[in-house]
């Protein structure tokens, strides 16, 4: 991909994110919202099929999840909110209108803090966070020229939260950072799986360019059809290049909707002009009473919020003396952070220095070998067999000199594969470090006898011979010899021979 040339244009991006909520039931009926593996049209009832005569009933859990999200995004929660009908005809919208929120959303005026590498943290405004319902899913078929579409109504009426961001983002990198942070927050508070590839986290982007110093927004292009963070980044990147070229050529950018096409390096193509845009004819939903949320309710929801990613990361840096890089990786998910804290917990009784040393060691293992093994087996940390306390135990064994750091790698792999505690693995596989001088002395004698050439080299002044002999001793002991003790005894014996 070509890099974005330095231009006289400032990029302005605002993201609209739709998130399916993890409620047990759908937004306005009693059907199960967990439809992902279900056969088509099995999670349906008269209400979500929009049969004549049915009425919606608000799912209170969805309201709670939206308020939770809004609070995590520092939004205001107005005391009065309402649902509206958004009218447009399409076969996947079974009622012919979507119950959504227009002028009085559940929340507004929040922000998300993002940071891209090498820059200061920035607050990106959140215009609003409101609640609506998902549509049915269409599958388009072509049987030997005969085209038709199938409708699966399982998704119809699943609670959908829309998070509209202010046009505060200034680059595709910032857009990606915003999405990563938003996803992390949503997963922390447990309101959504927030997985773009699975379609429960969807993103549309509004992007425009303007001359630096200009305060008015340029005409915006809405980009759709992106189904991964990578796709969002690539689509925005390609759109910046396209719009820059257009402006440089003296063309106006028409306001339109464009779709991202992944193929052939990726490009956006025009889908719909401003003139073809829908008039949604919003009006208040007469089948639902307005929503009033008092301060007591909001406080009660606030009390349910867990520690959020930013706060946790700051605490990890402060309390455990971790670097920002490590703290960031360890707070990626709540499961990771919890694992770390459980692993580090037994070190609490130790002195501050030791505690910090243990924390660093545990962090190293977690962002290193552990992540590598998890990725290789496509496992989530929550599903791994490794017990956090055992990771601590393994670090403890290294600290005590029972095993070397090198042996620990083998031990950890075994822990990962079997879930056994480190002590058991060490004794089963005979991996204890050999530190006794007598034992090591015997081994060294054997090595010196077997390698007279190396001994000769040493006395001829070749220091590398020590390395070679240590290596030979390690081979004999399968790496278990305490390296310091071994090297000390070896050199002493060599010098004595001379």
């Amino acid at each position: 991909m070509t890099t974005i040339p330095a231009t006289r244009y400032e990029t302005v991006i605002g993201l609209e994110v739709h998130v399916q909520l993890l409620t047990e039931r759908k937004m306005f009926c009693g059907c199960s919202a967990a439809y992902s593996d279900a056969p088509p049209n099995t999670h349906v009832c008269p209400i979500c099929m929009a049969l004549p005569g049915v009425l919606p009933v608000i799912n209170r859990k969805a309201i709670e999840y939206t308020v939770m999200t809004a609070l995590a995004l520092h939004c205001e929660i107005p005391a009065f909110s309402k649902f509206d009908r958004k009218n447009y005809p399409y076969p996947d919208l079974l009622k012919g209108y979507q119950i959504s929120q227009f002028d009085l959303p559940l929340s507004q005026n929040g922000w998300i803090e993002i940071q891209v590498e090498g820059a200061e943290p920035r607050r990106i405004g959140v215009t609003r966070c409101h609640l609506e319902e998902d549509t049915a899913r269409l599958t388009h078929k072509n049987d030997g020229g005969e085209t038709y579409s199938l409708i699966d109504m399982n998704r119809s009426g699943v609670p959908l939260m829309e998070i509209v961001g202010d046009p505060d983002l200034r680059s595709p990198e910032e857009a990606r950072a915003y999405l990563v942070k938003l996803q992390r927050i949503l997963r922390y508070i447990g309101v959504s799986k927030a997985n773009m590839e699975e379609g429960n986290f969807r993103c549309d982007a509004n992007i425009s360019l303007r001359s630096f110093g200009e305060t008015e927004l340029g005409s915006k292009v809405e980009v759709k059809n992106m189904n991964s963070f990578r796709a969002v980044y690539n689509a925005l990147h390609s759109e910046v290049i396209r719009q820059t070229a257009e402006l440089d050529a003296g063309h106006r950018i028409p306001q339109e909707t464009r779709g991202w096409i992944e193929a052939d390096g990726g490009s956006t193509v025009s889908q719909r002009s401003k003139e073809e845009a829908h008039d949604y004819r919003y009006f208040p939903e007469p089948d639902l009473p307005p929503i009033t949320l008092d301060a007591a309710y909001v406080d009660a929801v606030r009390a349910k919020l867990p520690e959020l990613p930013d706060a946790k990361m700051a605490r990890f840096e402060r309390d455990y003396g971790l670097a920002a890089y490590e703290a960031n990786l360890l707070t990626e998910t709540r499961a990771k952070a919890d694992f770390f804290e459980q692993a580090v917990a037994p070190a609490k009784q130790k002195g501050e220095d030791a505690r910090s040393r243990y924390a660093h060691q545990i962090a190293n293992w977690m962002v290193g070998d552990f992540v590598r093994l998890l990725n290789a087996s496509s496992l989530d940390i929550a599903d791994s067999k490794v017990n956090p306390v055992d990771l601590y135990g393994m670090i403890d064994l290294i600290e005590q000199g029972t095993i070397s750091g090198k042996i620990a790698k083998t031990v950890f792999e075994e822990m990962f594969a079997t879930g056994k505690p480190p002590a058991a693995i060490i004794s089963d596989l005979g991996l204890e470090q050999i530190s006794g001088s007598d034992e090591i002395s015997g081994i060294v004698d054997g090595v010196l006898d077997a390698n007279p050439k190396a001994v000769e080299d040493f006395h001829a002044g070749k220091q590398e011979a020590v390395k070679f002999l240590v290596g030979q001793a390690m081979r004999v002991t399968r790496g278990r010899a305490n390296p310091e003790t071994l090297t000390g005894i070896l050199i002493a014996k060599l010098e004595a021979k001379g």
């Binding site: 008269p46 005569g53 008039d279 919003y282 009006f283 009473p289």
Partner: protein
């Protein structure tokens, strides 16, 4: 014994309780009456005879087992706008010709639980849009008092069925007068309870903020009985009021002595039919004679705006409510077109009648970007003004009394050419929907052999007072006992 099919609910329940008749006999009598007069009246879209007899037998078994209930074993007719599980529900539209709902409306299941026997689904203006039942996609219903005239609408079938002895009582729906107006024109009691008093779940929506289910009966006492069965909160309808429901029969006989009755002068305009005015004046005199304090000079100045408000709000809501009929999921489906959009458009073009399409277009226009503030939003503001005027009146009066319709039943075909002329029929009833109030039409005599209705309007959720005043008047006249010359 009088003809069984003209019994009141009260009489029928008494005979059934004493086991002097069985529900099967009563049901059979109604079915035979239907066979005799239905070719002339055409109140029904579909008969459910077999099921009715099965329900009658089951009611008889419950009675034999010692169970008693006012509605147990009594035949009812249901407007074809209320969903009935396993029985086609067409809404008087070609669009839903073959639509068989998989669920019962809440009111229907409440009646069935009480042991009601459903004899059939009644004719109506398509999707409840009309005031004469001439907008039915199927056939015209005739007024039992004069077969050349309309029964009113949109619940014309339900009103005519009760008037003609084709049901002991019936259910209809009232969005702008669709129960009270046909009740008045057919000489039966018809009531629209307070918005939120009766569940709308299973009532196929026309205008969601105005629609309300209500009964047609032969007496006010029967009205109270049916309301007792169908009113009350329903968790499936978020707009249904979570309020306790009083026993509506409790205060019925308390009389009107000392009650303050207001008559809004806007409801007695110079253009009011002289015969109707005379009947209303007589009714007011009768109430005064019973000791009511009648004030004929009440002002509800925004009344004249009500028609405009109604014809913005109702079509706006309808334009969304009827969007689901696209031929994709159920009902009529045009499939010979050029692809999806063409089929969807032609489904709606062919499936809906002219009045429905007119209202969808009015509503779509009123909600359109650039027009919303001038129409829909303004209409909602005026709606609030109308509601406040009623609120203020109810600080001074226990109930308001007015005519139901400007005229008696008009000739079939007389007003079909001019939609606006048709809309004017509801000028005295639709303000009550706009304000969400309870209103009843009770028979108040005849003009040239055609029935006239008296409207009693009450405070929100004060159905008991409305019924008490209506009953107080009914006692002085009992016009409802008169039968049409069929």
């Amino acid at each position: 014994m009088a003809d069984l099919y003209y019994l009141t609910i009260e009489e029928a329940a008494g005979l059934l309780a004493k086991r002097e008749i069985s529900s099967r006999e009563l049901t059979q009598a109604v079915i035979e009456r239907i066979a005799a007069v239905e070719p002339r009246v055409r109140a029904y879209l579909a008969m459910t005879t077999e099921r009715a007899l099965a329900q009658a037998d089951s009611a008889d078994a419950r009675i034999a087992a010692g169970e008693r209930g006012r509605l147990l074993g009594v035949p009812v007719a249901i407007k074809d706008l209320l969903t009935t599980k396993g029985i086609a529900t067409t809404c008087g539209s070609k669009m839903l010709q073959n639509f068989v709902p998989p669920y019962d409306a809440t009111v229907v299941s409440r009646l069935f639980d009480a042991g009601a026997v459903m004899v059939g689904k009644t004719n109506m203006d398509e999707f409840a849009m009309g005031s004469s039942t001439e907008n039915s996609a199927y056939h015209v219903t005739h007024n039992p008092w004069d077969l050349t005239r309309v029964p009113g609408g949109s619940s014309g079938g339900s009103a005519a069925a009760v008037a003609a002895g084709e049901a002991i009582y019936s259910l209809g729906s009232d969005t702008g007068g669709s129960i009270r107006q046909p009740a008045a024109l057919c000489g039966v009691v018809g009531m629209k309870p307070t918005y939120g008093r009766v569940s709308r779940y299973g009532l196929v929506a026309f205008a969601s903020s105005l629609d309300q289910v209500g009964p047609f009966t032969r007496t006010v006492r029967d009205m109270a009985t049916v309301l007792n069965a169908i009113c009350g909160h329903d968790a499936s309808d978020s707009t249904s009021a979570p309020l306790d429901v009083p026993d509506f029969t409790a205060d019925l006989e308390k009389g009107v002595k000392g009650l303050r009755i207001g008559v809004p002068k806007e409801y007695m305009p110079a253009t009011l039919d002289a015969g109707v005015r005379a009947r209303v004046d007589e009714a007011l005199a009768a109430l005064e004679a019973q000791g009511a304090i009648v004030d004929r000079d009440v002002a509800l100045p925004s009344t004249e705006a009500a028609l405009a408000v109604y014809y913005i709000i109702a079509p706006s809501e309808a334009s969304a409510n009827l969007a689901r009929y696209d031929g994709v999921k159920y009902g009529f489906s045009y499939q010979q077109g050029e692809g999806m959009w063409d089929n969807m458009e032609k489904t709606r073009g062919c499936g809906f009648g002219a009045e429905v399409k007119r209202r969808i277009m009015i509503g779509t226009y009123a909600l359109s970007s650039g027009y919303y503030d001038a129409y829909y939003l303004k209409a909602q503001k005026v709606r609030t003004v109308i509601r406040r005027e009623f609120d203020a009146a109810f600080e001074k009066y226990d109930a308001l009394v007015a005519p139901v319709t400007p005229t008696t039943a008009f000739k079939i075909g007389e007003k079909t050419a001019d939609p606006f002329e048709m809309y004017l029929n509801d000028v005295f009833t639709l303000p009550v929907n706009i304000a969400g109030l309870p209103g009843i039409s009770v028979p108040a005599g005849f003009v040239d052999g055609l029935p006239v209705g008296l409207q009693v309007i009450g405070k929100p959720f004060d159905e008991a007072m409305v019924l008490r005043v209506a009953r107080g008047y009914e006692q002085t006249a009992a016009w409802g006992a008169k039968r049409p010359p069929l």
